[in-house]
């Protein structure tokens, strides 16, 4: 089927819906989403959204900007970080006006709490900057934005999976191709502008806080179309995932006073981050946990440590951390009021992704040349405000600030530009991919290949990396790709074929993994979440630059682009 719109948004999480709010009613816009909008993983975000409102104590956007830059180990583009920190305040107020039910102070203003890496006066001590709704801030963002979409009568194509992006030979974006999962039909969306807001790809790793559906679709599709990806080596592991399950326990647990303890009962963060302690940035805390485990100080000598909330008032645990408490009770059968909770780092957030400028325009080179009509925002994008390591509560800000900016820019773009003609047979690639999977006869199972990928990525490309490990991973990827050509699926029907969907998603995961590993192997230094045991120091002389990786007919090509530094010169990063 053929559709024509001014603007098409792919993804209905926080980023996509925020952009939709700018366009609805002002131009002809549609949102395509493989999940029902309210099922998007933005709804899983717990702890909060940062903005220097200074409601509880003195705070300034420039402190927020500094923390973001330092937290990202100076790989952050500072023009973007400034936009983030300044516009966060406005965005929060806008959300409030749309009905977001923030927790409140006794005088009725928005309450704020502490979060990792957010500090007063350029690093002096933790500051209360995170606005929140109990421990379901993301749920409330998703609900609030979906409610606005209903109010604004946004047109949704629910359970439509994007399979391809349409670009002309001279690099103008003209639309997308999607599969209607329910019917198995192909749909061509012809548009003046497309926004990709498809979220992250945590499912490349075995232990992750990410939904089963977070398979990097948008990122992989862009990569397949020959556009570059940025900083793919930077993938964040959140310190407190529920042991083995990976389900996230929010940093808000530590923001409210929770403490990490090793097998000996020691508050081990005293050794690694004497000022911020348990509220040091995530890369630092995750590595510290693994250090403890390697030194044999995990609980019972095993590969986990404890998150201890038992000293907190029961009331705080039950109300401000209600969902987290529920997770622990449901999945571990433990009670956080009296039991310490077994945790291990869990794959959480992609700092890298589709390169964009501060207006969400997708860019293709070191000069930030934009692709006309193509935008990206949210976790799939890389502006880059998170650099080498994202601070907690900064992703939700990223979604609303840059989702909004992208939406506004798109509106202007569609008003000023005409529709470009579509290429001939716009859906041939998507059809070929689906037909191939439906008809292929081999011996390999999608689930087996996926499990091996996740296991291997966990072993060789997660918190600690080495040249040898990454090369081993590259070989493994060659093998897995090869086997992927021999998959067979059981379900050959057209209606709601999730067997097919999972096979397509595995293809995307393989692409994301390949990009991560190539970039990680090349970067011979340690910065933020990227830690090379064979190159343990940060090396600004050689590596203060963003990686761009592009797929060409000759294999993956790496190039680099400068980091934008405006206010804060790189310094050693201690907490």
């Amino acid at each position: 089927m053929y559709h024509r719109f001014d603007a098409v948004i792919v993804g209905a999480g926080g980023a996509g819906l925020m952009a939709a709010a700018q366009l609805a009613g002002k131009c002809n816009v549609a949102v395509i989403t493989k999940l029902y909008p309210v099922r998007s993983h933005t709804g899983a975000a717990q702890g909060g959204i940062a903005a220097a409102l200074a409601n509880v104590e003195e705070d300034h956007w420039i402190w927020h900007m500094f923390d973001t830059v330092k937290g990202g180990d100076y790989l952050v583009d500072q023009d973007a970080a400034e936009v983030l920190a300044r516009e966060a305040i406005d965005a929060i107020i806008e959300l409030e006006h749309w009905g977001f039910p923030f927790n409140r102070l006794p005088d009725g203003r928005i309450d704020q709490r502490r979060f990792g890496g957010h500090t007063r006066n350029f690093g002096e001590a933790p500051v209360r900057r995170s606005c929140y709704a109990a421990d379901r801030t993301g749920h409330m963002i998703l609900q609030t934005l979906y409610q606005q979409s209903i109010k604004n009568q946004v047109v949704f194509f629910d359970e439509f999976m994007m399979l391809d992006l349409l670009l002309t030979d001279d690099g103008v974006c003209t639309g997308v191709v999607a599969l209607d999962v329910e019917t198995g039909e192909f749909h061509v969306f012809h548009a003046k502008a497309v926004l990709l807001a498809t979220g992250g790809y945590g499912r490349v790793f075995k232990v992750t806080s990410n939904a089963l559906s977070l398979t990097g679709d948008g990122v992989a599709i862009v990569f397949r179309r020959g556009l570059p990806l940025e900083d793919m080596e930077f993938y964040q592991f959140h310190p407190t995932g529920i042991y083995k399950l990976g389900i996230l326990l929010s940093e808000a647990c530590r923001g409210e006073g929770g403490i990490l303890r090793n097998g000996l009962g020691e508050r081990f963060m005293e050794r690694y981050a004497p000022t911020l302690l348990d509220l040091a940035p995530r890369d630092v805390v995750s590595r510290s946990i693994y250090h403890e485990i390697r030194e044999g100080r995990g609980v019972e000598g095993k590969d986990y440590v404890y998150l201890d909330l038992t000293h907190l008032p029961k009331e705080v645990i039950e109300t401000k951390l209600a969902d987290n408490t529920d997770f622990v009770r449901t999945y571990l059968g433990l009670d956080p009021v009296v039991d310490p909770i077994p945790i291990q780092p869990t794959a959480h957030y992609a700092m890298g992704g589709i390169p964009t400028d501060v207006d969400g325009r997708v860019t293709v080179d070191a000069q930030n040349t934009p692709v006309p009509g193509l935008y990206a925002a949210g976790e799939c994008a890389c502006v880059s405000v998170h650099g080498a390591n994202r601070l907690g509560t900064n992703s939700l800000v990223d979604l609303v600030v840059f989702g909004r900016r992208a939406g506004k820019h798109m509106l202007q773009f569609v008003q000023e530009n005409d529709l470009h003609p579509l290429p001939k047979e716009p859906d041939y690639r998507a059809r070929a991919e689906v037909e191939w999977i439906l008809e292929n006869e081999g011996q390999e199972k999608v689930a087996t290949i996926r499990a091996e990928l996740q296991e291997a990525m966990m072993a060789d490309a997660s918190v600690f990396r080495t040249g040898d490990g990454l090369r081993r991973m590259q070989d493994k990827l060659v093998e897995l790709r090869n086997r992927f050509t021999r998959i067979t699926i059981d379900d050959r029907s057209r209606t709601f074929n999730t067997d097919l969907v999972e096979a397509i998603e595995l293809g995307y995961l393989l692409d994301c993994a390949e990009a991560i590993v190539a970039c990680a192997l090349a970067r011979e230094e340690s910065r933020g979440a990227h830690y090379r045991e064979d190159f343990p120091q940060r090396d600004d002389a050689n590596w203060l630059k963003h990686t761009l990786v592009t797929r060409t007919s000759g294999g993956l090509e790496l190039s680099y682009k400068p980091v934008i530094i405006t206010r804060f010169q790189p310094k050693e990063r201690t907490y």
Partner: protein, 231 residues
């Protein structure tokens, strides 16, 4: 441990009516029912179809009937069910395939309660004020993830046309928001023929809610509000 899953299957391309199929899988007692379904799908029968995403009870994708009760498959552990588990799609909705049902009518009901803040007064430059006590009134109903467990557990919903508990919960969320100004319009919707008065206070909905929302209580509060505004 080994468990047997007895799952209702239906493929519209080949079946005229649903049938049951049994699978035996090896799982840990602490695994989720969703893990067991995944075992089947990934290693035994890829054609088994269900929705899922977050796998920890916050996205609302995998509402289904598990041993006769509406649950999220990712929020029930095997050890709480025993070795034989019957899994069926939610009642009251058209089955698209296996455990996947058509939720469009559910979302349509939701949309009729105007589930968004209505307040045309020019907003202040900063946040609107709301005290913690005022905020507390919507704490419970704002937790709703629109999973449909409650609505599809309601016997009234199976037989008559009516809003259903989930839509009322979301009406409540705005009706009791101190910032909202559309009380009259909201009550008109909730008070209509298909509105709150169809509820017989059977509590199935409250029992079914995976978010622990006091659904029946919220419906009662809405009823009282209607009576109060009318008097």
């Amino acid at each position: 441990m080994q468990v047997t899953l007895r799952i209702q299957r239906f493929n519209p391309e080949t079946d005229t009516k649903p049938h049951y199929q049994e699978y035996t899988v090896e799982v840990e007692p602490t695994d989720r029912v969703l893990d067991a379904l995944n075992q089947v799908k990934w290693y035994q029968d890829g054609s088994l179809t269900y929705r899922r995403s977050c796998a920890h009870g916050i996205c609302g994708s995998d509402a289904m009937r598990i041993n006769g009760r509406n649950r999220l498959a990712c929020k029930v552990l095997i050890k709480d069910l025993g070795p034989k588990i019957t899994i069926e799609p939610l009642l009251g909705f058209k089955v698209i395939k296996d455990l996947v049902v058509d939720l469009e009518p559910f979302f349509a009901q939701y949309r009729t309660v105007m589930p968004y803040l209505i307040n045309d007064e020019p907003p202040p430059t900063r946040e609107r004020l709301q005290t913690p006590e005022e905020r507390e009134l919507i704490e419970d109903t704002s937790k709703c993830i629109l999973c449909a467990c409650c609505t599809s557990a309601c016997p009234i919903f199976w037989t008559t046309e009516w809003l259903g508990p989930a839509a009322i919960v979301n009406g409540h969320r705005f009706l009791f928001d101190s910032r909202d100004r559309a009380t009259e319009e909201r009550l008109a919707v909730l008070n209509q023929r298909f509105g709150v008065w169809r509820c017989r206070t059977i509590f199935n909905c409250t029992e079914a809610c995976p978010r622990g929302i006091q659904v029946t209580h919220a419906i009662e509060q809405v009823k009282r509000r209607i009576l109060f505004e009318q008097s």
